[in-house]
Symmetry: C2
Subunit: 297 residues, 2 copies
């Protein structure tokens, strides 16, 4: 299984996910931008806007190769002179505040030295956290992880808590999920199985999101809840622009800005020193944005 | 003239600016949050919201002291074990798209080694750039600079072009203005004169903004122009969170988040790969967001 085959499987995954999301959305279709990178490779950025469910979202596939720059050596801590990277990444911002924001990414990275690894993650950012929906999401992720390695879910869940964290707000971005990086074959798992793990995560992404959408999409919402949604989107923007290593690396290393920033919402709000009402759903949500919460039990 | 006297003059400057801005706004008043910093010092953050002109803005005074951390040594390139810093910083987001966003900052920094410097700047971000208003703004800044040192305006104007630049968009934030840092006494200018330069900039800030406000505030605007304003606010958010060294340093060094992020607008928008209409005011604005434009001639 070589890198071209992996890229092709990721590209086909993008197709399946987009089809599933169009079915879930029920109104808008993805538009596609194909792009090429001067240094080598390119991608297919697919955007959905003003949908029945999804106000703004993107599903991006890319396959790039090039020279390992000093910035990459420093930020990624890698050795080697040339790299190959391919992956699928997704962020969806729904219109209804009762439907969560979701993010997914699976990626494969290879150096000319022969060193390779898989990375990725899925995390959920409800505007209003509902315990049993959070549990359902984490159960779904744990079930996939457990098929491959019983240590994956607890390890990758904690990794997500640490990664999807906004230090200057002392908040997690949402209820987390899983995050993993530098995943290589070992005595207990082969490269093929790791690839299969990424593909299975990708194929279950739409299933997990559909569960969340179904429980929120018919709930009515008012202006105050839209305002709260927009404030939470503001935090999402802060995380992506200040804290997300992937976004920062993409921007400084000369990635395609429109593809990188497809993760930003159609709109976001900020209000100075906003205080939630005591005993409100908003306060409950804020109180749950903590690292280390066990959502399964 | 010691550091306490400088801080007092900056605090009084904040008072005068807030009074002037309330007069310009004509509707809302500033609300004040006094805060203290565990490590020493504190500040007065003043916020104006939903005004007649200003939708969201802040005028912050701070006076802090503490230990020089490793992060500060690295980011600021300084030596010394303890520091003192005081300053006034302002960002105003008007409601009417025909009124520009404005930013100002003046600051004084001192180390226990006796080394000190002044820094600061003023820059204007029109949603729609109008040549003669841009010229008027730069003329006003040049006139103040020229009273102190004929080399200040050209030097500080170029510095602003370089500082208020968004590399991943290949755009300047707006029409620039002036930016300066590490300003110390020399054979041609005393410490007192440098302080006076900062104070005079601060006192002229409201005058310069009033000129801009007066020419835009009565212009009618439509939904499409509000959307464009919000997209430009999106760029402002990107600059502040991705590129602004002051914001980034404040956030990672444990500054007061709500005071640092008072610079963000009430709302901002993003649209994938937004294209302006040919020969529109929007296209004209984008074409002028370049470094090195001589606004005086």
């Amino acid at each position: 299984m070589n890198r071209e085959e992996i890229a092709t499987l990721f590209m086909q995954l993008q197709d399946r996910i987009c089809n599933n999301l169009e079915a879930i959305d029920g109104k808008s279709r993805f538009i596609e931008d194909k792009w090429e990178r001067d240094e080598g490779g390119g991608g297919r950025t697919r955007i959905i806007q003003q949908g029945g469910i999804i106000e703004k979202g993107g599903v991006a596939f890319s396959k790039v190769h090039g020279t390992v720059t000093e910035a990459m050596q420093k930020q990624l801590g890698i050795e080697g002179s040339s790299f190959f990277a391919t992956g699928v990444s997704i962020v969806l911002h729904p219109e209804n505040p009762h439907v969560p924001i979701i993010h997914m990414n699976v990626r494969y990275f290879e150096l000319n030295t022969g060193v390779y690894w898989f990375g990725g993650g899925i995390d959920l950012t409800p505007h209003f956290i509902i315990d049993n929906q959070a549990k359902q999401f984490h159960e779904g992720l744990a079930a996939i992880c457990n098929k491959y390695d019983i240590s994956f879910y607890p390890k990758f869940k904690n990794w997500a808590d640490d990664y999807f964290f906004i230090p200057h707000r002392n908040e997690t971005r949402g209820i987390g999920g899983i995050f993993f990086d530098h995943l290589k074959e070992s005595s207990t798992i082969s490269k093929e199985q790791l690839l299969q793990f990424c593909i299975e995560l990708g194929d279950n992404f739409s299933v997990l999101y559909q569960q969340q959408v179904a429980q929120g999409k018919n709930k009515p919402f008012n202006e105050q809840q839209v305002h709260w949604r927009n404030l939470r989107r503001g935090r999402y923007v802060e995380f992506n622009l200040v804290n997300d290593r992937g976004t920062k690396f993409g921007l400084v290393s000369g990635g395609r800005t429109e593809s990188i920033l497809m993760s930003l919402p159609a709109n976001a709000s900020w209000e100075y020193n906003y205080k939630v009402e005591p005993n409100s759903a908003e306060e409950n949500t804020l109180n749950l944005l903590k690292k280390g919460k066990d959502w399964l039990n």
